[in-house]
Each structure stands twice: as C-alpha cells, then as structure tokens.
Symmetry: C2
Subunit: 391 residues, 2 copies
C-alpha cells in the first residue's frame, strides 16, 4: 500500500485560566478548553475523529479513571461515538498525548485529532495531595521511604550547586523570569511579579528550595487540534506545523540514574527532535520548559542543549528574558502560569500557537519562527520534545 | 514525502498465570510477561523502540501512577532510553494500547513496539476494591449514588431478560463455557469446570447476577510485540497479521445511552473492524469477548454481529463451544481466565497468537484462520475491536 505520509499541523488551541478553580469540576474544565480550541480553529466539533486525553492523577485525586470516556461523554462527542483514550506519562502526559496525536495523523488513519489535557488538583477525593503527587515517583523505592518530588529536587539542587559553584540566586532567577512573563499572561495562575529578594527569602520547603522555587498546585485544562495537511487545506484553515516529535526515557528512581543532575531523557529527546527537524539548537526561537522546581529550569537549559553542564547560571539574568537570546517560558512556565499536571504539557502548545500566530500580546517573543516544547515526567523519568513552527 | 505504509504483525506474545498472585508485585508481573514475549519472539529486547503500558487502576489501587516509567525502569529498557507510555481506557486499556501500537507502526516512526498490560488488583493501597473498580464508572453521576459495575450490569440484565424473555440459564451458559475452556488453559485464574446448576445456584451478588456471573478480581500481566513487515522480514521472523483495528465510544453513564442493553460502541467498532479487513461476520473463526459479567457475553454476541438482538440465547448451548459455529473465549474469558483490567485485553491477543499458531493445546480451535478480539471499557463506554490472522 503506497500512500503519502501526512504532515501534522496545530490548527487550533485553547485553554482555561489556570489557578485554584474551586467552582469548576474536572469535566467542566476539560470541555471549556476543548470548546475554545474548536472555536479558535473555526471547525465543527463533529469533525474530530479521536480524542487523546492527557491526565496524570484523576484516579487518585478525583476517584475517576476512564477519563477519556468521561470527557467524550460530557463534551457531547460520545453522541458521535468518537473514541477517547487517556495517555499517561505522569507530568509528561501532555507532551506524550500530543505525540500520540502526531503519530495518529502520520499513520493515515486520522485527519483531525483533539488533544485535551486536564487536571483538577485542588479537590482531593482520597488522601493528601503531597502523598498523591508522590505517585509519580517510584512508590515502593522512593515515596515509601519518604521521598517526595520536592525532596528529590532539593537533593539534586544541593549536589548541583556544590559541584558547579552555583548560588541560590541562579535558581531564584528562573522563578523571577516566570513570574515576570506570567504577569503578562491572562491565563496564568500567578500574575504577580516577584523580586530576587522575595524569591530567595520565601518560606523554606526543602532546603535549598523554598516556596518560590516550587510550582503550585493548579487546576486547569488546555486543548489543541492536530490535523493532517489534507484536512487543513480542504477546509482552507491554517496552522502551525509540528516539525518533529521525540521522546526518551530514564530510570524512574533518581537513585538509579547515572547522574543526579544530568537529565538524560531531556538530552536524548532534544537531540532527536532537533535532528528530525533538521535544526540546530541555535535555530530555536524560544523554549517552553518544564520547571516544576527551579533547579529543573537550570538542568533543562543544559540538557536540552542551550548551555554546557553547570553553565545555565550564565543565562538566567538576560538571555532567558522575552527579548533575550533564548527566551524561556514566555507563558510564565510551571512556576507562575501553573502546573496542572495533565494540562501543563498541552498548555505549552497553546502558548506556542499564540506566539507563532503573533497573538501573545504583551509577552510576544518578537520575530519568533519556532519553538521547542519540553514536557517532563516526574523527576526526569521521561522527556517529550516537540519542535513546532518553521525550521 | 511518499512512502509505504507498514502493515503490522504480532511477532511474539507472553503472559503470566492469571490469579491471586500475592507473592508478585505489579512490576514483577509486567516484566515476567514482557520477557516471555521477547523470548517467544526470539528477538533482543534492545530492539524494542517504544513500550505502551496498559493499566487501569494502579494509581488508585497501588498508589503508583507513571506506570510506563516504572515498567521501563524495572525491565531494564530504561537503560536504552526506550520511551514508555501508559494507555488508559479503563477495562478497554488493553485493546486501546494495542491500537496505539498499531498506529505507531503504521505511522512509520517505529518498527518494533511492545505492548504490556498489567494489573495488580489484590494488594489494595487505599480504599476498598469495590469502590476502586467503580472509578471506571461516572464517579459523580453513577458511583457517588451507589452504582457499582455489578449493580449496573444487573439492572441491564433484568431489563434485557424481561424484554426478550431470556431466562437465567442463558446467562449461566456463558460462564459454563468460560470455565470449560479455562480448564484447558494453564494460565487461567479458575480451572474448575462448573455445571449449569452450580452457575445458577451460586451466591447472589446483584440479582439476577450471582457469583458465577461475575468475573473475579485477578492479578496478571500479558505482553505482545507488534512489528512492521520490514522488521519481521529482515529478522526472518513470522507473525500474525493485524488485519484491522477500530474503536468507538458510547456515553460513560449507562443512563445516558440510547438503550440499556444495546452496546453501540461494540456494534460500531465491530462493523468498522470487519469493513477495514474486508470481511463479513461469518468469516470470523472465533471471538474473544469481554464478559466481565455474563450478561455482557450475550449482549456482545448480538452487538458484535453474531446474533440478532435478543437472540444470543440461541447460541449459548452449542454454537459458542470450541467446536461450535462461533467459538467464544477459547481462553476461558473474563469469568474463568480472569480479569486483571489492564492485562485483560492484551491477554486476548496472547490467546489469538497461540490459537493461530496452533499452539493452544487441548483448547485449540481447529482450523482457525483468524480471530475477532473485543476489549470493552466499563459498562460499554468504549469498545476496541481488532481482527487478526488471515482474512
């Protein structure tokens, strides 16, 4: 069977405000984001052929598995018997779900796929949130012995700071930059700017990390529509091209990895994504990265390829700003836009769509041609990297 | 870009024994099945390019999300940075994961994909099992008001039996057939044969369903290897062809559906799978269906296309036997082989592989050319149907 492998394009994107959204349920958030994406694309929702739902913790937080069916039902697309499947790769679920959509379009079986990411983290059905978020770690060998995401990030930060003579201020600058950008993003969880002093002197969480080094517990949803070139042209739509998609794994438990501060999954996924797109790291216009803790912002800048190991500290004052050499997290990132696990990675695509369509308002990265989007699972167990836009 | 879309083949399959496996953990079960599949295929595990993990309830039962990473880590493939993603569609997770593998191969991005399904249901981390399995229902509109999978199946059975004058014996025969076949399957959870009398007089669970109408709480894992034609030929392997793959959705909540006993998702997925394979229902050699409750065995026989609505009762005495017109569940089905949610659907492929390779021993369906495999989510919210073998 000879046929043309389809390129994949993002033809619409939408998200809810991120935040503590007590008045909205999991399903309401998801449908709100989905409808915005449909409206944004200017298509009929009945054209959607399959829904990939990205969600990390609804089973354990909301007592609700079978998320695909839930969203399909509540959004009304179940009436058309559109299949809905949940993709889970912990906090990398968003990137992983977009990758499945990309493969689904490339397989030739689908012309229009919706990816919807959602997480409702502030209504807890079962046990406490700290314990629940630890379910993304190795339950038996990390969480059971008291490891939490914050504690593991803190241990990593301590060793990294000692080995490379990095001071606390470099970590703080990742959060300062996120908050500055988020102040210009109406969908962000926190829109207040913070100073270096505020970032460095906030309440300790797990030394050396304090409150301003940690992404918040956020509710929210984000959705994009991925279409084949055929569907896009037939319907006279336009979109942002998915240039490449790649993923890579590392050991789940931090203690199993080759290095505590080398994110091998990010390194490999980034190299694969750049290579598939025929690009070099210097060709990247801006990056949305997964700074669930400020330390990861530094590590990712290095392992994605923007700096040598131990040298990210040289980028954090100027280069990562909106008008810098490599703008980081124009959306506000995980620290300030927020981190609703299943929605976080999909939200990066919403930001890229807005930026590359030059609709990002005050936080517009001028002249941006493309973006690198990095969705990371847990403490680095998985990385999914996409390049979108023009090479 | 013009290229040849790849056909997909199952080149290896393996599973653990299904049962109450107190001595084995979630990760141990998964790796045991994976290694058996690799050994069975005669390949190197380092050739695997991506792992799709099928799991429904580990977050809520075992406090473990990020299942892909867990399995990748423990199996050792994390060393090679092989990405691992979890696919969840409640009890249809197995079929859904195989479908993603099929799309991944067809997309041209992968030549060798492992699908591993696992569920560890007898070690409960949090609340009680009944409540946990209800997480596959609509938590807010079914489970919260006391609906359980058994209760919803019972209501459906009651209405079906009244409308079509079907007696309890027809339901019982589904379980009698499962137990007869399972008695010949060394991997089955229950290998005892049961009589019609035993099936009909067992302990009531939710009238009219009793213990012998309900699939058990099972631990287990199953794995298959899906390869492109290119990989298969290059390595001089042989395999079972995936003729077609299709899925369809219905409303999550039973009360939202058009009919209580019409499984629209099964109907549509079956029609699509047959049509894509260029086959008619009479061409099917045998079927593995998703009889989590005996009533669903009858409903699926009808909605998959083997009988008119209300007429499945005419098939249950002779036609569904191993040597009958349409053998049902040679493996022993969900009632007797067992129902480890995430592994159930993948286990159907293991059975099909064994049958079509004529390695099914005493339970061999003689002259079987192909199989229809039906993986169903919850009470029918999703159906995934695959046709495998020769058309």
């Amino acid at each position: 069977m000879v046929t043309v492998l389809s390129d994949a394009y993002i033809i619409g994107a939408g998200e809810t405000k991120f935040g503590e959204l007590w008045e909205k349920s999991l399903r309401e958030l998801a449908v709100e984001a989905g409808l915005r994406a449909v409206e944004n694309a200017g298509i009929y929702s009945r054209d959607v052929e399959v829904l990939y739902g990205s969600n990390s913790l609804a089973g354990i937080i909301n007592g609700q598995e079978n998320i695909g069916a839930l969203l399909s039902d509540f959004s009304g697309i179940a009436e058309n018997h559109i299949p809905a499947i949940r993709i889970e790769a912990s906090t990398a679920s968003g990137g992983a779900a977009v990758r499945q959509a990309y493969l689904a379009v490339k397989s030739g079986e689908y012309d229009l796929v919706m990816v919807g990411g959602v997480e409702k983290m502030t209504d807890v059905y079962g046990s406490e949130t700290l314990d629940l978020t630890s379910s993304v770690l190795d339950r038996e060998w990390e969480a059971f012995f008291g490891g939490t995401p914050a504690a593991l990030a803190a241990i990593t930060a301590r060793k990294y700071m000692a080995d490379f003579k990095v001071d606390k201020e470099a970590l703080a600058m990742i959060s300062v930059n996120d908050h500055l950008n988020a102040s210009k993003n109406p969908d962000a969880h926190y829109r207040n700017k913070i100073t270096i002093e505020q970032a460095m002197n906030s309440t300790p969480v797990a030394e050396p990390l304090n409150l301003m080094d940690c992404s918040p517990i956020t509710d929210g949803a984000a959705a994009i529509l991925v279409a084949s070139e055929k569907y896009m042209k037939k319907n006279k739509l336009d979109g942002i091209r998915i240039l490449s998609s790649a993923d890579a794994q590392d050991y789940l438990a931090v203690h199993s990895r080759k290095s505590m501060y080398g994110l091998d999954s990010a390194k490999i996924a980034s190299q694969k994504a750049l290579s598939k797109a025929g690009m070099k790291i210097d060709d990247v216009s801006f990056v949305e990265l997964h700074d669930s803790y400020s330390i990861y912002g530094l590590l990712e800048l290095e392992d994605l390829g923007f700096a040598e190991k131990g040298k990210a500290k040289d980028l954090v004052y100027d280069e990562i700003k909106l008008n810098g050499r490599i703008p980081v997290n124009p959306s506000g990132g995980l620290k300030a836009k927020g981190n609703p696990f299943g929605a976080t990675g999909v939200g990066q695509f919403v930001e890229a769509y807005m930026q590359l369509k030059e609709k990002a308002g005050e936080r517009q990265v001028k002249g941006a041609k493309n973006a690198m989007l990095h969705s990371m699972g847990g403490t680095g167990s998985m990385s999914v990297v996409h390049m979108v836009g023009d090479a």
